[in-house]
Symmetry: D2
Subunit: 336 residues, 4 copies
């Protein structure tokens, strides 16, 4: 048995919960958005990307979210279905909400920015009443995205979902996923992310995202991965993953182990989606019962594939593609 205790008799492996939006990626890259002419449409949002990644790797996946009652909302549901994701719990807003948009501007591989449309978005209208306890009880794991905490009633839906998950022994992954533009202040984000993190089994975030949780603890930031892991492993969490960008990832368990994941070389088109690709493949590995380091390697290889492509969700690789990447890199290193 792995580090997290998945109820093996459940029909659904993973349910994602939270943001479903549209990415509009500039086709003309390496220039400011004033000079781009055309955009390509993709499904986006961190939990959507991670769930698509997991489904592409073969997990049985579902989603809990809310979409707008328009062409974009219908497109999102259709895309998830085509990716093999159950959408029975994707509600449709009837109050005039819109789909969140993310226009991406790729000035250079290391200088990307996003222009967001987050006013009156459907994903943040998900409410506790949209949840189906029976549905959740059929899943091995639930992935919560921190952006779903940004506003009511989505914020309350997250806490209610965590309650159902706890009641039915659904393993909870929490991707902190901090996006400043949806919050009033970093402190507000930290306060709610901390409350959610206290109720999750595995917390995944970047260094700055873990700092955010510390903001809400009322002490000067320690910015120390070991302290961070030590703190959170005293709560419900069994596994803490700190993503460190180009420096790879560090995973901590309750036995005091530290697992270090490296990165793979890539011809970087843009950095968007790296974290989601990592998380999707890492969760897949953990749910296969793999050693933690193997899951980290799988995550890093997936990330290196996604940053070399133009999209996020659409570029999520299959297990074979990831393995091929790993094998090629390993043989290169042997030769070198």
């Amino acid at each position: 048995m792995g580090i997290l205790n998945f109820k093996q008799d459940r029909p659904l492996d993973l349910i994602g919960l939270g943001r479903l939006c549209i990415d509009l990626n500039a086709n003309e890259i390496h220039r400011p958005m004033e000079e781009t002419l055309t955009f390509t449409k993709y499904v986006g949002g961190s939990p959507a990307n991670i769930t698509v990644a997991a489904a592409r790797l073969g997990l049985s996946a579902g989603f809990i979210g809310k979409v707008s009652d328009d062409a974009f909302g219908r497109y999102i549901v259709q895309y998830l279905l085509q990716a093999g994701i159950d959408t029975g719990c994707v509600a449709v807003d009837r109050e005039g909400a819109v789909t969140g948009l993310a226009f991406t501007e790729i000035k250079s591989p290391t200088d990307c920015s996003i222009l967001m449309y987050r006013d009156n978005v459907a994903d943040l209208k998900l409410s506790p009443a949209d949840l189906d306890e029976g549905y959740m009880s059929k899943a091995k794991a639930l992935l919560i995205s921190g952006t779903a905490l940004a506003k009511s009633p989505s914020r309350e839906a997250v806490f209610m979902a965590l309650e159902y998950a706890s009641k039915h022994d659904v393993v909870t992954f929490f991707d902190i996923d901090y996006r400043p533009y949806t919050w009033t202040s970093a402190l507000e984000a930290g306060i709610y992310a901390k409350l959610a993190a206290e109720k999750c089994d595995c917390i995944i975030g970047g260094r700055e995202e873990f700092d955010l949780l510390e903001l809400a603890m009322g002490h000067p930031l320690k910015q120390d991965d070991d302290w961070t892991a030590g703190h959170w492993l005293k709560h419900k969490a069994q596994l803490i993953v700190v993503k460190r960008g180009g420096d790879g990832s560090k995973a901590y368990d309750r036995s005091g182990n530290i697992f270090r994941g490296s990165t793979f070389p890539a011809e970087v088109v843009k950095t968007f989606g790296a974290g989601d690709a990592f998380a999707g493949a890492f969760i897949y590995g953990i749910m296969q019962g793999w050693e933690i380091e193997k899951a980290q390697t799988f995550g890093a290889a997936s990330a290196s594939i996604v940053v070399s492509s133009h999209s996020c969700s659409d570029a999520m690789p299959t297990a074979d593609q990831i393995q091929e990447k790993i094998d090629r890199w390993t043989s290169n290193q042997l030769i070198g």
Copy 2:
């Protein structure tokens, strides 16, 4: 002298006021938006389109509006400048407003729809304090778009602009431009559009748009162009133009004349932008001192060119292109 008394010594011919937004037109046409993949970006918004049309025809033009403080806002200003439009009175919002978006879905030439993003948009943040009386006093004419009346403080900016225009004998064109999604109700739209119409020299609208003004008069709709014109010519207006789509246009003056404008054949890609092309070329003609019917013909020819193309603002033709269209059609008819 023409029907409207333009102060000929003014350096600016026409100032547009109101909506500046981004059109994202689906490149894959004749299918629902769920199936489109890419979009091309254009500057949009009825008064923006009309002002671009006028500038392309050679009028000296300026704009009064507000844009977002982001790549889209900068793109709009840059586009207007390249079109030869003065942007000295285009303010930049500093409160986090976004640029309005219009995603167009072209299912067939006659079945087009628009998915709008109008929450928290910069154009409706234009306030009376953003106006510059001195700037307005330098113009022969002002074009007001009805959508600028949809919310405060833009609504108040319109009434203040009309006050300055009246004080400085600037001729005012009012394009009713009713877009239901920005209003609480049709009656609300009608009430403010009526208040603005009472203060304008030339009112341009579709039959349904003039009906809207009647809603606010508290009587059953008459839906009669002659009654409409008769009513409005008793106020400040000297010229009433009813656009009737495929049936052409009707213009009325205070002498009891009715001028009928026909339409030009076109291979219609989409119907968006036809009204703006007509208005831009019609206003141009009126400002040249042309006979009203000649201005109507010019407007109709321009509309026929725009509906055959993929965009609105970008497709606005030059005077030569319009004249060529008219000449070809005239000779065709002679031959036929």
Copy 3:
């Protein structure tokens, strides 16, 4: 026939439209509110006060407004009914609005202030759909209060009511009644008050209130009663009344006449309500067909009675009480 042409065959003399609220007047006067202990409850709001004044003088009166669905709303309706005012067109809000409150602090006769509760108030929820054209057509006159213009949908209800009034030859009195706390800015107030004033037969306001209308004209304030009257008499208005506090009132007609009204001595308890008492009695006089100066005298006497008492609405005098005040003063002066 008097200066304003009232349709004499109408069953209702005057309909008030606008604010209905509760005044809570400190019983312990001449001290700051921190030290007051108890408050007495009265119906308040400028148009309510004026309509009560008119009804007490014997006019057949009605009211168009909206009250909260609670004890305060029911109290207001009950009070109006007891004052003999028809409340058939006083709607009840069903969306959780509250009754506006005005806590008055009477530090000294000349230093009074008001602490207002104006968030989510029922009176500003009056909408065009709440109006009954048939009801309005039964009235000789309509009194509009400027505070009803402060927010949508009440703002639109005012413009719609003015449309019905115009259609049915109902004489319109406009009391500018500027209350800064309900507006975003003085300019916003000025813009809408000006639009309404252009459609009224008689405009009543203080010097500062007429200045407000000038703010919206885009020129430096002239602060000149003669200019003010001259300007407005070029619109629909037949009668302009400038209230000058202790200096009395000035009324102007289209024939170039200026009528000066003086004031009456009073033991002033508080200055609140003086303007409403004046307006109620002045309108009464005008509707009796009196000479303008006689109506001004009647208004001034009524004001002197109200400022000597603790309340506004409740203290509105009868015609006999006003006449007695006038007679006593006249005989005093003769003796003196």
Copy 4:
């Protein structure tokens, strides 16, 4: 040592946090509010009442809250100071918020209702930035009121205050204090009250208030005090108090003890304030290190005094008054 571990070296005994408002109690009782004429002004709000009660009993008390920048806000601060409560951490709102109001209507001793003004109230503008960690570290105990969770940013201020309390070993009392009118739904209230309750040392509430917390657990309500106490004593709480109105109170500790508190007879004027009086005196008793049942008796006697009077805060008794009530009742019973 008592059941809760108070740091005895702290200068402040108790800090209240949350609602500060004005009660306006009808002077004419036993009739509907439509018929009341005058109101008397008192400081109100559950945590304000409890803190006043504690101060009157001799505790060294402070308050963390926010008041409006007007006469009512100044009155509240002045009243707290006169009651001996430190107001160094009562912030003043500068954004135009008002003081919450509660008009009480006492139709009969058992039929009281409240008309609330809770739009844009200052108390719910308390933000995490208004908190002073140093101040909190000087207190033995913190009293949190559930109404402070009703809206942001006050909601976040509560969670931040609980964090500081935990960090500095400040004992936390949580009074659920559910007031439906400030919440979107009972479920929303339950979700946040549950999150706060999980972090408190002593939870005090009525049966229906504990039901609210269960709503957020996703199971049918058990409505069973024993189950309730058992559940909450598995979290941080050491002491659970269920108030049962006329049936007295039940207190539970972690050793499995159940303490039953009875009630005292009273000539009931109104039932408002009974719970706050109980809580104030109960907390006082607990902080004196008394047996739990003695604290319950003290609380019940205080409640019986307050329900016999016209106000809440102002009627909070001294320790002598409570003791006298207890002694009189005891001797009556002995005689009887």
